[in-house]
């Protein structure tokens, strides 16, 4: 009985350990490069978008002075522009992304202030 338990307990890990050597497709696992330049740009893009969201929110609830808000927005837009240039995007794709940033800002303002006041904000 003990031998049977020992074999059973050892067999299951042995099978799962052997499985990757027996099936196909494992070698594709590393195709995605987490630190590729494009992945890095993606992260920087998201960080710039987060920055704009945060500046919009803080401005909308009155924690941020207008000068600081404009300065911060400019900085993040500049960062986004750098990322776009580095991505070497077509003009229309750049415009699409810039529209995306604008709509993101408007969305945050609308969430805090309501639709009517949100459109009045710079």
């Amino acid at each position: 009985m003990l031998v049977f338990i020992a074999v059973a307990l050892a067999l299951i890990p042995a099978i799962v350990i052997a499985y990757p050597f027996l099936r196909r497709g494992v070698s594709r696992e590393w195709l995605d490069d987490e630190s590729s330049p494009m992945a890095t740009l993606q992260r920087r893009w998201n960080a710039a978008l987060d920055g704009i969201r945060s500046a919009e929110l803080e401005y909308a609830i009155g924690s941020l002075d207008e000068d600081d808000y404009r300065w911060l927005r400019r900085q993040y837009m500049r960062e986004a522009a750098v990322v776009m240039r580095a991505m070497d995007l077509e003009q229309e794709e750049q415009e699409e992304l810039l529209t995306q940033i604008e709509s993101e800002g408007a969305r945050v303002r609308a969430r805090v202030l309501g639709n009517e006041r949100a459109v009045e904000q710079p």
Binding site: W30, W45, D50, L57, R111
Partner: protein
């Protein structure tokens, strides 16, 4: 069943060893089949450890005293419900618990990271498997929880009576799990460094997620430990700067610093080295906690898993620290920040300042904890560092941290002009000043206490005012107030989750400040029928009831308590003596309200039920225990995944496609 558990332990160690070797070799030589094999093998370790755990639990339930660990930690008198506590009450069982928790959470964490961090995962898994393997090796070679006895005793020794408390069902497992879970973000960080493709910002999101999980578990463990000490150790306090308490606090401080500063790396690509250093420090301090708890050089009331193998934990701690430093130095170049601090007044600076303060508290605590060892080595006499040292040095530092908790979230990222600063701070400062005036009116005149309460008011004021503004704006749009509040919160979960956590910390601070500055106590000798008073309370000693249990002698004392002229109720405190352990366990009688706790604990019994009682009024302690659920709620809100809109697919150069949220 016990034999199956033994076999499962052996197989788990073999598989874990394979996972370590296959992960590192597979990653280094870029053999995907080998790393996948290591990963699958590692997934089978938790079920194997579950078999061993089930075997041990079965031995407890069937009172199989042929198993040494069962004989040492239970007896026939122990209620079955305490089987769970007995499982981790001693060194060997707690090691099995640690291995099970760490292997399970590590396997889950690998599942969460493997798609997003394909190059990091094999190295991270290798580190996790190495740590799990360490626990398994110690168990199998030095402290086997399933070891058989040559002679089976008729009854066991029983469970340590100090562990017979509701808090013990959750506190030790949470505390141990918290210390173990620090290994997960540490492994992810080390994996990212070792992967040669990582080390910059790739690991940040998942490192932060697992950092917050371990922080929450550590926090709940610390709170429950304080609650246990408050209700059962019978001295009326909850924190004594005891070595084991300190050893749990130190990694908590480092992890608190980490979960904040990792935000700066995510947002700005800064603090890369700092975050790596913090997680290494956090992991090392967690190892230090295990070392102190398991045969460390300084004794503690909390050490239930004492053993003679402390040196092994110390060696493991030093070994992992040296390895981490070596990997850090090897990958030093990849850790340079992308950007620099742009202004002194900014959220980044506040995070940095707060980080330094947290580390300062951690190192003061470390120094105070290990000072007796140095004093003994240097002068031959053990000089213990007491509470006054910790209170005097750490108290002001913690006060500044609370202040920064109020100011930091109000500062914008990158820079803040004086106008923005004033705009953000004027309402919270007004709240702080109003608090001071209110406290002065009710008679609070201690300057430090006033500053402490003002700091809390500043933090709470900042959060509530921001919420109020947001909710009012949404209400003007036509939403009802509750809906406006919920929509605001769900619209930016990480931000408001963080605020909820800060509210929880403010509650904790209120409890600590209230009880530290305004606690009063009195030791009084009473006979049945005697009346005494403390503050507004009058209490009548009704009498004592003595009973003999199979494992202990119990005394229950009853008091009728009045506040002013109103009868508050009958309170009962319990004192039990366990002859086998030569331990007396005292459960205080506590009447707890948000304003204050009235606490009675018997300290000595004389003839004719005459007894000496310690009576305390501890203001605001209730807020400490109430902060636990608030902290947990904040973390859950902060980590709850947001509903993402369908990603727009944009063509990237070279024909590749990337999805953008």
């Amino acid at each position: 069943m016990v034999d199956a558990g033994q076999i499962a332990l052996v197989v788990a160690l073999v598989v874990t060893t394979y996972a370590v070797v296959a992960s590192f070799v597979g990653a280094w030589q870029r053999i995907p089949e080998l790393t996948a094999s290591a990963r699958y093998g590692f997934y089978s370790v938790p079920p194997l450890l579950l078999v061993s755990t089930s075997a041990l639990v079965y031995a407890f339930v069937t009172r199989d005293f042929s198993v040494r660990y069962v004989a040492e930690n239970s007896n026939f008198a122990m209620p079955h419900i305490y089987t769970w506590v007995a499982f981790y009450a001693g060194n060997a069982g707690s090691l099995l618990y640690l291995a099970l928790v760490l292997a399970s959470v590590s396997a889950v964490s690998v599942l969460t990271i493997r798609k997003r961090l394909p190059h990091t995962t094999p190295y991270a898994l290798g580190v996790m498997a190495l740590i799990v393997g360490f626990f398994l090796a110690i168990m199998l070679f030095l402290a086997n929880p399933l070891e058989r006895l040559a002679v089976v005793p008729a009854d066991g020794q029983g469970i340590n009576p100090l562990l017979i408390h509701f808090g013990m069902f959750i506190h030790p497992p949470m505390q141990m799990a918290g210390l173990a879970l620090v290994a997960v973000p540490f492994s992810i960080a080390m994996g990212a460094l070792a992967a040669r493709r990582g080390g910059r910002d790739e690991w940040v999101d998942l490192g932060r997620l697992w950092g917050m999980v371990s922080w929450l578990v550590l926090t709940i463990g610390l709170l429950l430990g304080s609650w246990w000490a408050y209700t059962i150790l019978g001295w009326g306090g909850y924190w004594a700067w005891d070595p084991v308490e300190n050893s749990a606090l130190m990694p908590w401080l480092a992890m608190t610093a980490f979960v904040h500063s990792i935000m700066v790396q995510k947002r700005r690509g800064m603090f890369r080295m700092w975050n790596m250093a913090l997680i290494i420090v956090g992991f090392t301090l967690a190892q230090m906690g295990m070392f102190i708890n398991r045969g460390g050089p300084v004794p503690s009331v909390h050490s239930f898993a004492q053993s003679t193998m402390g040196w092994l934990f110390l060696a493991f701690m030093v070994g992992t620290l040296l390895l981490s430093i070596a990997v850090f130095l090897w990958r030093y170049d990849s850790l340079k920040s992308r950007e620099r601090l742009e202004a002194v007044v900014s959220r980044e600076s506040a995070f940095l300042g707060q980080n330094i303060l947290f580390l300062a508290v951690a190192f003061v605590t470390l120094w105070g904890t290990i000072f007796p060892v140095f004093s003994e080595a240097a002068e031959g006499t053990v000089i213990t560092v007491g509470r006054p040292f910790f209170d005097r040095v750490n108290g002001p530092l913690l006060l500044v941290i609370v202040m920064l908790m109020g100011v930091g979230p109000l500062l914008p990222w990158r820079r803040s002009t004086s106008r923005s600063l004033i705009r953000a701070l004027r309402a919270p400062l007004a709240a702080a000043l109003l608090t001071m005036v209110a406290l002065l009116i009710v008679g609070v005149h201690q300057p430090v206490a006033l500053v402490a309460f003002m700091s809390v008011a500043l933090a709470v004021g900042g959060i509530l005012i921001e919420w109020l503004r947001g909710v009012r704006s949404r209400h003007r749009r036509g939403e009802a107030y509750p809906a406006a509040f919920l929509n605001l919160l769900t619209g930016n979960r990480p931000r408001y989750g963080g605020y909820i956590v800060h509210l929880g910390i403010a509650m904790l601070a209120v409890g600590i400040i209230g009880s530290s500055f305004f606690s009063v106590q009195r030791d009084v000798s009473m006979k049945p029928g005697d009346v005494a008073s403390l503050g507004d309370y009058t209490f009548v000693y009704v009498g004592a009831t003595h009973t003999t249990q199979p494992d202990s002698a119990q005394s229950v004392v009853a008091f009728d308590v009045y506040k002013g002229d109103n009868f508050s109720g009958r309170m009962e405190a319990n004192r039990a003596f366990y002859p086998v352990f030569r331990i007396a366990s005292t459960k205080g009688a506590i009447r707890s309200t948000p304003i204050e706790d009235f606490y009675i604990v018997p300290s000595e019994f004389g003839s004719d039920d005459e007894a000496v009682f310690r009576v305390l009024i501890n203001p605001m302690v209730w807020w400490m225990w109430a902060s636990g659920p608030v902290l947990a709620l904040g973390i859950v809100v902060g980590l709850w995944p947001a509903r993402q809109p369908a990603p727009a697919v944009v063509r990237m150069p070279g024909g590749a496609q990337a999805a953008r949220a």
